[in-house]
Amino acid sequence: MPDALAYERVALRYPGAASDAVGPVSFCVRRGERVLLLGPSGAGKSSLLHAATGLLPEAIDGIRRGEIRVEGQPADARRPAGWADTCGYLFQDAAQTLAGFTVRDEVAFALENRAVEAVDIPGLVARAMARAGLPTDWAGRRISNLSGGERQLVALAALLAQDAAITLADEPAASLAPQAARRMTELVLARGRTALVVEHKPGPILDRIDRCLALGRDGRIIAEGPPSEVLVAQGPALADNGIALPLGIRLHLAMPEILAPAADLTDSLRGLAPGRRRTEALRAAVLPDPVPPGETLVTLRNADCAPAFGPVVLRDITLSLRAGEVLAILGPNGAGKSTLAACLAGLLPPRAGQRTGPPGAVAFQNPEAHFSRESVAAEITAATDSATASDILARWGLTLVAGQHPFTLSQGQKRRLALALLTETGRWPVLILDEPTGGLDGAGEAALGRRIRALARGGHGVAVITHDLDFALSVADRAVLVAQGALRFDGACPALLRDEARLAQAGLLPPEAAPLLGWLETAC
């Protein structure tokens, strides 16, 4: 029986590029196998997914060398559209790739393209929506009225309806709140499904992965095998290449004398006796260094927050941010976190109530909104000053792409550039970062965490909107929980992240570090 997917010495190059974006690589995905593709941002992971059915080079300009076979047939044997019955895609930016006008249209789209009998389509649509956890009354909702995370769930329902044997998923859970992300993972990576998945944060999905493939910075395979072998044995090499590791392995690499190597942190902590040095080391590894908070920088008092063209989504919000403080803004998809960010920064005036404080800056979810120059270097030079530009480019891993147009970067590189533009200038006393870890690899996330803490030490007030609760825990002193149109919690970040019941009510799940928080509490 042929492999579901086979790449034989495949190399991909974009027009005008001096070198290959990825490859040459050779690997296969067997039927019923779930393969995780790891790699730093810009290593060519998305390009490899696009090449599977010939989207690259048929629909995306580029050159492919080597051969790709889908279920034993050359990928070139059909047009990319012809493989829709075999391969289903979940794209990185679902918000921009939905076809229908309503949710029903969207879920039915691939079925219509496959010429499924019209009478069968409504039943298949309803079944796919139910499997994806979409309420039945969503069927008539317009796509344009959905939030980014909701659109991602609709894309999942559409994929399930498509019922292709092979799933190609590019960071499918990146913009989802943890509970929704878990549902997505359970469905896309169910036992017996064939899937090739790109994910920057492997921790939450490792138990559903049969094999890992890791690409290095040069776009070639540096490790391959079962997750436990690749991540534990090759951990240092992966970390050197900027790949994010599960927290348990990261902690083991940082303090091998304290923690045994295991992808699951609970296993590592089992039987670990408390001790002062050990406790302090573990606390420092997952919690930020405290910074004494200064004066209040910005305050929202009894504010009603609304997007520019929409109704009020948050009522009677009272919230302040102090100098030296990092605040995590947490909540489910569509809760109004981005609207709160715009109000807090002073970009959108509250419909009622009051905002006081200097204007702030927001790093938007879509990094492209921040670009206005012809090259990465020009963006950095314009935002900072030319003397420090090369240092900043190096610090954010952008030196090699300094001459490129910002829109030609990978998603992770775009994110790093947008964050560098806002966080390196020191112009704004208040900074709000909206889902800043989306598309970032391990090295990028670590650099961002360090920069946020440096800003806090420098007297800035920073708010971070994120679904990545481990990242929130590592950078934030305080957290607010936004749900059902109001603030449901305002207090210490670790206290919220240990409160499973409260998190569950808001569609969130405890972070990977939750067992360690429990251990630290017991140890103290």
């Binding site: 559209a81 829709a84 921009q96 939905l98 219509e112 796509i143 938007f364 879509n366 206005s372």
Partner: protein
């Protein structure tokens, strides 16, 4: 009532009234059509009066030149006279006024269609009943998505620009700001369209390929009745105009 009217017969009826408005050069006919369409918008489509007035503004602006020339200066433009002559205009009113109310009447009839029709259902009906090619139909749906998304993107671009320049966000964009954001907005639209095309291809859409459709609402007897009633009313109105003579 009109919300449940199938989009295609409704479109045919609206087009028939618009064509009649373009052919009949009578002030009374234009005012009657304008009033009838406005009443339908207020009563059936439940458009609030203030919004209805706002809807009229672009159409009124279009015909405002004829209106001012005719009412304020008690004269008419050469164009208005020529139109009146070519279309057998009756001497019941100044030609400029007729043209002004014609623009308003056509605008309000279009608004009746737009306000009472689900755009997605309309495009679906075009694909299902009139064989509009699916790539074209879904491109139209994408364009409809893009309007609100582009508005949100423009706002985000404006916010990012305000942040970059260290200025507060203005309530209304200045011409210079619009100019500066035109290229990024265009780039966004092109990227968005490219991604959508990629997604269409990946999910099996091919020009010319056989595809089925989600079951669509059929054109029922009630729709035919409404169409017949609307056309009957139009014939009656035209007869009345004809009976009134030139």
């Amino acid at each position: 009532m009109l919300n449940g009217f199938h989009p295609l017969p409704k479109l045919a009826l609206c087009l028939a009234w618009i064509v009649a408005s373009l052919l009949v050069f009578r002030l009374s006919f234009q005012i009657a059509l304008f009033v009838a369409a406005s009443v339908l918008l207020l009563v059936d489509a439940r458009i609030p009066p203030r919004r209805l007035l706002a809807l009229m503004v672009p159409f009124a602006l279009f015909g405002f030149g004829f209106f001012t020339t005719s009412v304020l200066f008690r004269a008419d433009t050469g164009f208005a006279f020529q139109m009146a002559r070519e279309q057998g205009g009756a001497p019941d009113a100044a030609p400029g006024l007729v043209l002004f109310f014609r623009v308003l009447a056509c605008g309000m009839v279009s608004a009746v269609f737009a306000a009472t029709t689900d755009p997605g259902q309309f495009v679906r009906a075009l694909m299902f009943h009139l064989r509009l090619p699916a790539p074209m139909g879904f491109a139209l749906l994408q364009a409809m998505h893009m309007v609100p998304d582009l508005r949100a993107e423009m706002l985000q671009l404006r916010m990012a620009r305000a942040i970059r320049l260290g200025r507060p966000l203005r309530r209304i964009a200045s011409p210079a700001e619009i100019g500066a954001l035109a290229i990024p907005a265009l780039a966004y639209a092109i990227r968005r369209a490219t991604r959508a095309a990629l997604s269409f291809e990946a999910r099996g859409m091919q020009p010319g390929a056989t595809r089925t459709h989600l079951p669509q609402p059929p054109i029922t007897g009630r729709d035919w009745t409404l169409l017949a009633l609307g056309l009957g009313l139009l014939v009656a109105a035209l007869s009345a105009v004809g009976a009134a003579g030139p």
